[in-house]
C-alpha cells in the first residue's frame, strides 16, 4: 500500500517536472518575443512582424534556425569545458525554477493532491541562491575555453561582476529573512498575508515593521547584474568584445546560453514577486465590498480576447485573420471557464503571481532599453561602494526595527 503511494508520488513529480519544463521553455521563447516587441515599441518600431501574425511564430522560426545553423567548433578550444559550459548554464537556469511555488492551491493528478511547486524544500531560498551562485561557471568557463581573447575578457569580467554583486543580492534578502524567519518560499509568502489599515497589503515591500524598499532596490539591481543584462552586460559588450564569452559559440550551443539567460530572468522575476510583492496573494482585501475583484482574472482574459478578435478581423494577411480571432475566441472561452464558481478560487493565486512576474519582467526589459551600459570601473565602484553599503544599511535598519517591535 505504502509502496503504491510512493510510486504514484514519484510519478506525479515526474509529470510536474515535464509540464513545468514545457511551460518554462515556452515562456522563455515568448519572453524573447516579448522583449523584442517591448523594445521595438519603446523605440517607435514594430518589432517582429513577418513570421506569423504579429510575429507570434518568431520564436519557432528562431528555434529552427538555431538547430539548422552550422555548429562550428574553433581550433584550440578545450573541448570538454567548451561543450560543458553551455549545458551547465542552461541546466542550472532551468532547474532553479523547480523551487518556485506558483499558487497556494493543490491540484489533483492521478488521485494525488499535490501543491503547485515541484520541490517545496525547507531552504528553498538558499537552494535558489546556491544554484545562481554556481551559474557563474557557465559564463566564466565558456570564456576561458573558447581560446579567444574577447571571450576570455568577457568571462573574466563576468566572474568579477558576479562575485561582487552576489554579495549585495544575498544581503538584500537578509532583511526579509529577519522579518519572516524562514527559508521556505511558500511560508515566506504566507507571512505577507494581511493588510495594514485594512487596505495596504502587508507585502515585504510595504511591510509594517520596516518597508523593504531599500532591499527591493538592491535586489533588483543586483539581480540585473547577476543575469548579465544591460546596463550590466559587460560580459558580452558587443561594442568592445564582439560578443564576449559566447563569441565562439554557434548554433544550438549559442541557443543554450540564450535560453539560460532568459530562464534566469524568469527565476529572478519570480523570486522578486515572492520575496517583495507577496507572491500569489491578491492585492485586494477579502472584504464583501471587494468580492468583485475575484472576477479580475476572467475580465483580463476576456478583454484580451475581445481585443484580439477586433484586431485580428482587420489583419493584413488571411492567416492572421483566421489565427488571431481564433486565439481571441479561445481566450474568451477560457475567461468564461475561469469565472465559474468551482474554478474561480483556484485561479486567483496563479493569476496574481503571474501578473506580478510579468510586471517585474516588463521593468526588466524596460531598464535594458533605457539605460546605457556601465563602464567597467563604474560597475565595480557602484557595486562595492554604493550597492553593498546600502544593502548592509538595510540589514541593520531591519534588525533594529525587528528588535524594537518585540
Amino acid at each position: 500500500m505504502n509502496e503504491t503511494i510512493a510510486h504514484s508520488i514519484l510519478l506525479v513529480s515526474l509529470v510536474k517536472v515535464v509540464v513545468l519544463l514545457f511551460l518554462v521553455l515556452t515562456a522563455v521563447a515568448y519572453l524573447v518575443w516579448f522583449e523584442r516587441k517591448v523594445a521595438a515599441h519603446i523605440q517607435g518600431r514594430w518589432g517582429p512582424y513577418r513570421v506569423g501574425p504579429h510575429g507570434l511564430l518568431q520564436p519557432l522560426a528562431d528555434g529552427v534556425k538555431f538547430l539548422m545553423k552550422e555548429d562550428a567548433t574553433p581550433a584550440g578550444v578545450d573541448r570538454f569545458v567548451y561543450f560543458a559550459a553551455p549545458l551547465l548554464t542552461m541546466t542550472l537556469a532551468i532547474s532553479a525554477i523547480a523551487m518556485i511555488p506558483f499558487g497556494p492551491a493543490s491540484i489533483h493528478i492521478l488521485g494525488v493532491a499535490t501543491p503547485l511547486v515541484v520541490a517545496n524544500i525547507n531552504v528553498g531560498l538558499l537552494a535558489i541562491l546556491a544554484i545562481t551562485s554556481i551559474g557563474v561557471y557557465g559564463v566564466a568557463l565558456a570564456g576561458w575555453s573558447s581560446n579567444n581573447k574577447y571571450s576570455l575578457l568577457g568571462g573574466l569580467r563576468s566572474s568579477a561582476q558576479m562575485i561582487s554583486y552576489e554579495l549585495s543580492l544575498t544581503l538584500s534578502v537578509v532583511g526579509i529573512l529577519l522579518l519572516a524567519g524562514t527559508f521556505n518560499l511558500s511560508e515566506l509568502i504566507m507571512r505577507q498575508d494581511g493588510f495594514t489599515w485594512g487596505f495596504l497589503p502587508k507585502w515585504n515591500l510595504l511591510n509594517p515593521t520596516l518597508p523593504q524598499i531599500l532591499g527591493f532596490f538592491c535586489y533588483f539591481v543586483a539581480a540585473v547584474a547577476e543575469t548579465n543584462r544591460a546596463p550590466f552586460d559587460l560580459a558580452e559588450a558587443e561594442s568592445e568584445l564582439v560578443a564576449g564569452y559566447h563569441t565562439e559559440y554557434s548554433s544550438f550551443k549559442f541557443a543554450m546560453f540564450f535560453l539560460g539567460e532568459y530562464a534566469s530572468m524568469i527565476t529572478v522575476a519570480c523570486l522578486a514577486s515572492i520575496l517583495f510583492l507577496g507572491g500569489w496573494l491578491s492585492p485586494f482585501p477579502p472584504t464583501p465590498g471587494l468580492a468583485w475583484t475575484r472576477y479580475i482574472p476572467a475580465a483580463a482574459l476576456a478583454i484580451a480576447g475581445v481585443v484580439l478578435i477586433i484586431n485580428g478581423a482587420g489583419y493584413l494577411t488571411a492567416f492572421g485573420r483566421i489565427v488571431l480571432p481564433g486565439l481571441g475566441i479561445a481566450l474568451c472561452a477560457l475567461a468564461f471557464l475561469v469565472s465559474r464558481p468551482s474554478v474561480i478560487d483556484s485561479v486567483q493565486g496563479p493569476f496574481w503571481f503571474l501578473a506580478k512576474v510579468l510586471l517585474v519582467l516588463f521593468i526588466y526589459v524596460w531598464v535594458r532599453w533605457t539605460l546605457p551600459r556601465f563602464r567597467y570601473d563604474q560597475l565595480m565602484r557602484f557595486g562595492w561602494k554604493f550597492l553593498f553599503p546600502v544593502a548592509l544599511l538595510n540589514v541593520v535598519l531591519t534588525s533594529l526595527a525587528v528588535v524594537m517591535r518585540k
Binding site: I134, V136, Y137, A140, W144
Partner: protein, 172 residues
Amino acid sequence: MTPQLAIFLVLAAIAVAGAVNVILQRHPIHSAISLITVMIALAGLFLLLESEFIAAVQIIVYAGAIMVLFVFVIMLLNAGAEERTNMSRMARYAGVPLAIFLLIELAYQIGAATLSMTPQPPAAEVTRGLSMLLFQDFVFPFELTSILILIAILGALVLAQRGEGVPAKGGQ
C-alpha cells in the same frame, strides 16, 4: 540495498574520484572543476544527512564563492598546463611510503571511530540550532575569527601595494 545507501555510494564515488582527479589533472582549470565537483558531491552527502542548510551553504560558500575566486585567478593569470618532472629521489624513497602510511593511519582511525559511533537522529531544526551556537553561545570567538580574516585581507593588500606608494614620474 536501500535507496539512501545507493545514493551515498554514488555521491561518495563522485567525491573520491573528483578528489583524485584534482591531483591527476595537469591543467589548473581542470583541477578546479574537479574540486567543484567534490564540493557539490559533499553537499549531496549533507543532504543525505538531512542537513539542508549545511548543504546549501556548502554550495554557496565553497562551490559558489571560493572556487569562483580560484577560477577567476587562474583565468586572470592565464595559467597554462603545469609541467611534470620526474620524482626526486627523496620523494620516491621517503615520500611515497610516508604517504601510504598516512593514508592507512587515517583510514584506520576513521574506521575505528565510525565503528564506535551510534547513528544520531537528525536535529529537528538544524538552522535554528546552528544560529544559536554561532550568534549566542560562541559569538565572541566567531566575531574574533571574522576580524582575524579581515586583518589577513588588509595585510595582503598592504603587502601587494608595497613599493607603489610613490607614483612613477610621467605616468598616472
